[in-house]
């Protein structure tokens, strides 16, 4: 739970004060960073990671260690100090979650201090709770929200025989805070009952003693008015007593630390924040994707490394043209070759683009990767040697590199050759023995098309994949691309929409697959129904949908799982 839990006190002499507050840090490193921000003389030296043996005992390790610190400010009295002056606080490590809980008198970071301090003043001195004791919540959007529980602790020496305390939880998230209300209030009440019970014992003992004392002194003194005067004088000199003294419990702050850590930990486990809105980003938004002129990996070594789609950049060489749009690519090869290539890409098979020009190869990859969701792409821009499919599914390969035999003969790979047309229009390059070459003629557009001097050839293996029925997605993609009336921008928009639509189908299928306690035949029957009647796709699309599942974000999957369970 990203919150600060604090105990506040309205000190008779010094006004409202933060007594004790517990924060969580997501790693010891963060805590160290926090410590670095404060002046060195106030710093708490954090020990290194605790022993691993602590982690197996319980999830929150119980090593609460008192750490040494310089003496606290002298202006505070006992009542507004929690931790002895020569100690700085308590630390607990949650080794499993790598969270570290620190309790101090007050937060060291100035911004946080002012937030908690304001919560403290408001809880004790401003906000009115009917009945004076009880929970209230207040706060503003944009700043912090506070749940506060004010309560009184009996003190035989205080004015009115009681002193005012409050427990506050400061949080940025209002919805979370209000949802945690029952939990927090229940535990605050329990904690307060405990404190008040202890203080009540001390109080009754003290009043008993003082009664005996006054009856003795009254016998010796002459008049009762003197006794009253005496009482008035005594009370004027009283100094505030610490919570330790009031409760008669030396380990009270240790106890509070544990309780607060429990609240932070359990409060976080109780409700998990998760992304509720559905669609994970399929289409890359301009800020994070290739539009940004990021540094292109120019060194050959950098080009050999696998990259995610977001990090991938087109390498531009001087004097060599680049391919600009999917439409262009579509027109550079014949329809059957494109369908063959696209089917492989959609199913997640490895695409190998071979050519001599780095810019041409990377630009083609850049266009082809747009057919599938961004998260499904793993790209090696340009390599001199073959990389296995588990390294990347888009591979740029120089023409000189060898492609292993098992790859060329396999059905799970597709090779695109970029040939430079000689002056005579003849293909310059080798001929693949035993392979059927897709006849990719650069149809038309001779004029003005800078890439007309190139030819894209999709190398197809022997098997009869071309006879297989085209998937619904592919049919729609081809229809979209072969349209003569649409502009490039419209087509790319249409492609995005198409991908989003298919992602939604992926989600439905994912949820369907998570449901299953069904027997095989029954399940198949249902799956068929689902595909045809709800998703309007065929069996040919199933591999695509299954592959695209990789693009679902983890948060979304978790959300779907939870939704399915409830």
């Amino acid at each position: 739970m990203n919150a600060v839990v604090a105990l506040c006190h309205f000190c008779e002499a010094h006004g409202p004060a933060i007594l004790f507050c517990t924060q969580s840090f997501h790693s010891a490193h963060d805590a160290q960073l926090m410590m670095d921000a404060v002046p060195p003389d106030k710093r708490i030296p954090l020990p290194d990671r605790p022993d691993s043996r602590a982690s197996d005992a319980s999830s929150v390790s119980s090593v609460s260690s008192l750490i040494q610190a310089p003496p606290a400010k002298s202006e505070q009295c006992e009542a507004c100090r929690s931790i002895p002056a020569d100690e700085a606080g308590f630390v607990s490590y949650d080794t499993k979650a790598n969270i570290c809980y620190i309790s101090q008198q007050h937060p060291e970071q100035p911004q946080l201090y002012s937030v908690v301090r304001q919560a403290c003043v408001r809880s004790l001195n401003c906000e009115v709770c009917p009945g004076r004791e009880g929970p209230i919540a207040f706060g503003e959007d944009g700043s912090s929200h506070v749940l506060s529980y004010t309560f009184k602790i009996k003190d035989s020496q205080a004015r009115g025989f009681s002193r005012l305390y409050s427990l506050v939880v400061v949080m940025m998230d209002r919805v979370f805070l209000i949802n945690s209300w029952p939990f927090l209030v229940k535990h605050f009440r329990a904690l307060i009952d405990d404190l008040q019970g202890k203080a009540e014992c001390v109080y009754s003992r003290e009043t008993e003693e003082s009664k005996q004392h006054t009856s003795r002194s009254l016998r010796s003194s002459v008049s009762s008015t003197h006794g009253l005067d005496h009482l008035r004088r005594i009370r004027a000199n009283e100094t505030g007593r610490s919570l330790v003294e009031l409760t008669g419990d030396g380990g009270i702050f240790r106890h509070l630390h544990r309780y607060f850590v429990f609240l932070l930990k359990a409060g976080g486990l109780r409700i998990t924040e998760c992304v509720l809105e559905g669609p994970p980003r399929v289409v890359a938004d301009p800020e994070s994707s290739g539009e940004q002129p990021g540094p292109a990996p120019s060194t050959p070594e950098a080009l050999e490394r696998p990259l995610s789609a977001a990090d991938f950049r087109v390498v531009e060489e001087e004097g060599v043209c680049v391919l600009g749009s999917l439409q262009q690519v579509f027109h550079l090869m014949d329809k059957a070759s494109f369908q063959y290539l696209a089917t492989h890409i959609l199913k997640g098979n490895q695409v190998i683009v071979r050519g001599n020009s780095v810019s041409l190869v990377t630009s083609l990859i850049n266009i082809l990767k747009n057919i599938v969701p961004e998260k499904c792409c793993q790209i090696v821009p340009f390599s001199k040697s073959y990389k296995e499919p588990f390294v990347c599914n888009f591979l740029g390969l120089s023409s000189s590199a060898e492609v292993p035999k098992h790859v060329t003969s396999s059905d799970l790979h597709v090779v695109v050759e970029i040939f430079h047309l000689g002056a005579a229009g003849r293909v310059v390059g080798g001929v693949w023995a035993g392979l059927r070459l897709g006849e990719g003629e650069g149809r038309g557009r001779e004029d003005g098309n800078p890439c007309s001097g190139y030819r894209l050839v999709v190398v197809q293996s022997n098997s009869k994949t071309s006879e297989a029925k085209a998937s619904v997605f592919l049919t729609r993609l081809v229809t979209l691309l072969s349209s003569e009336v649409l502009s490039d921008a419209t087509i790319s928009g249409g492609l995005s929409a198409l991908k989003e639509e298919w992602m939604n189908k992926v989600k439905v299928l994912y949820k369907f697959s998570q449901m299953g306690h069904l027997e095989m035949p029954q399940k198949n029957e249902r799956l068929t129904k689902l595909l045809h009647e709800i998703l309007y796709v065929g069996y040919e699309d199933l591999p695509i949908l299954q592959y695209w599942r990789a693009a679902l974000s983890k948060e979304y999957k978790t959300h779907l799982m939870q939704a399915a369970r409830t």
Partner: protein, 370 residues
């Protein structure tokens, strides 16, 4: 208890109109919010009690307005929040007491000092005379200068409190000392324009009621008229001293212009207590809802030194208490007649204010829509 008198049969005597009455008060430029027609308790003239912790602010407010026994103030808790107290038992004495916790600096930017001091009529700063008051003087100076920046029409009153434990010499000494320091500090800061009034007070005698009376009187715009009426009454009836009391709080809202003798004030206070107590015990019937104080309330007490205390009801909340010689009282009929005239005159003052009060909302709305 904000409705006033027996005017419920009056066509315009609705609750909301009575609530909006303080609009008729005008304390100068600081009352902007009242002029804009804001209705409700927020617009009542405000008396704020400030001072260091444990100086006796809550005790004063409890003793004066809640009839707490002074000895029981020992057991009051320390005040942690601003305690707002509506005093509206009389249409003359109608204000809010704001009792501040001494530990908190309300000039901190986190607090809206415009809101706190904007509608403030009087600021009472309480100094514990039994304690070392140097810190209190520093705080007094801060408070006065900053409040003056926010609202220049505030009246500053300094209560030198808890003087019951001091000898008479030390009382005078403390007052002189505090007066000197406080005014010097102000003139050093170039604020000679601020006038501070000093009072020696204690909750164990009547001095706190007397001091509070004078604070409240400054907030009553009709005070000169009332004083004048009382002067006419005593000169024509041979009365020595006359007080117009708010019965519930026992603070006097007006007296004649002869100097106030503390003893006679105490005497009159005690007389009100006696009258109320006696009629509470013997004057109330179980079957009828009634108050111990009504229009038949009248009491004459003869003291053995030849003085007579004379109490008469003026209206539901006010009483006239007079001190007069026994021989003058032989002409009781004249006094009764003069009192009758006086009561009618007071009634007229009320009527004028009530008319003004009804006129104010319409004039305010006229201003809103030009």
């Amino acid at each position: 208890m904000s409705s006033y008198g027996a005017e419920s049969d009056h066509p315009h005597g609705s609750y909301s109109v009575v609530e909006s009455f303080p609009d008729a008060y005008d304390y100068g430029p600081g009352e902007e919010e009242g002029a804009l027609g804001s209705i409700g308790s927020e617009s009542k003239p405000r008396i704020v009690l400030m001072g260091l912790r444990r100086s006796g602010k809550s005790s004063i407010s409890k003793v004066v307005f809640h009839k707490l026994s002074p000895n029981e103030t020992l057991f009051l808790e320390s005040t942690s929040k601003v305690v707002k107290d509506d005093i509206s038992n009389s249409s003359f004495v109608q204000f809010q007491i704001w009792d501040f916790p001494g530990q908190i600096d309300f000039f901190d930017p986190a607090f809206d000092s415009d809101h706190i001091f904007g509608g403030c009529g009087a600021l009472i700063f309480v100094i514990d005379a039994q304690d070392d008051y140097r810190d209190a003087l520093v705080r007094l100076h801060q408070t006065v200068t900053r409040a003056y920046q926010v609202n220049q029409s505030i009246k500053f009153e300094v209560f030198i409190h808890k003087v019951d434990g001091l000898t008479d010499d030390r009382k005078i000494e403390a007052q002189r000392d505090i007066h000197q320091h406080a005014t010097e500090d102000l003139s050093d800061a170039g604020l000679e324009g601020i006038h501070l009034s000093f009072y020696l007070t204690s909750i164990y005698d009547h001095s706190i009621f007397e001091a509070f009376s004078r604070v409240v009187q400054k907030l009553i715009p009709q005070l000169p008229t009332l004083e004048n009426l009382l002067n006419i009454l005593i000169s024509n009836s041979g009365i020595e001293k006359a007080f117009l009391f708010d019965v519930v709080s026992k603070i006097y809202i007006a007296t004649d212009s002869s100097p106030v003798d503390m003893q006679s004030y105490e005497l009159c206070c005690d007389m009100i207590d006696v009258v109320i107590d006696v009629s509470c015990i013997y004057g109330l019937r179980d079957d009828v809802d009634g108050t111990a104080y009504d229009q038949h309330s009248l009491s004459i007490i003869r003291l053995n030194n030849g003085t007579i205390l004379y109490l008469r009801e003026v209206n539901r909340f006010l009483a006239l208490v007079c001190l007069l010689r026994e021989d003058v009282f032989e002409r009781q009929g004249l006094i009764e007649y003069n009192f009758h005239c006086f009561r009618e005159a007071i009634q007229e003052v009320f009527d004028i204010r009530r008319k003004a009060m009804m006129a104010t909302p319409s004039s305010a709305s006229a201003r809103d829509s030009p």
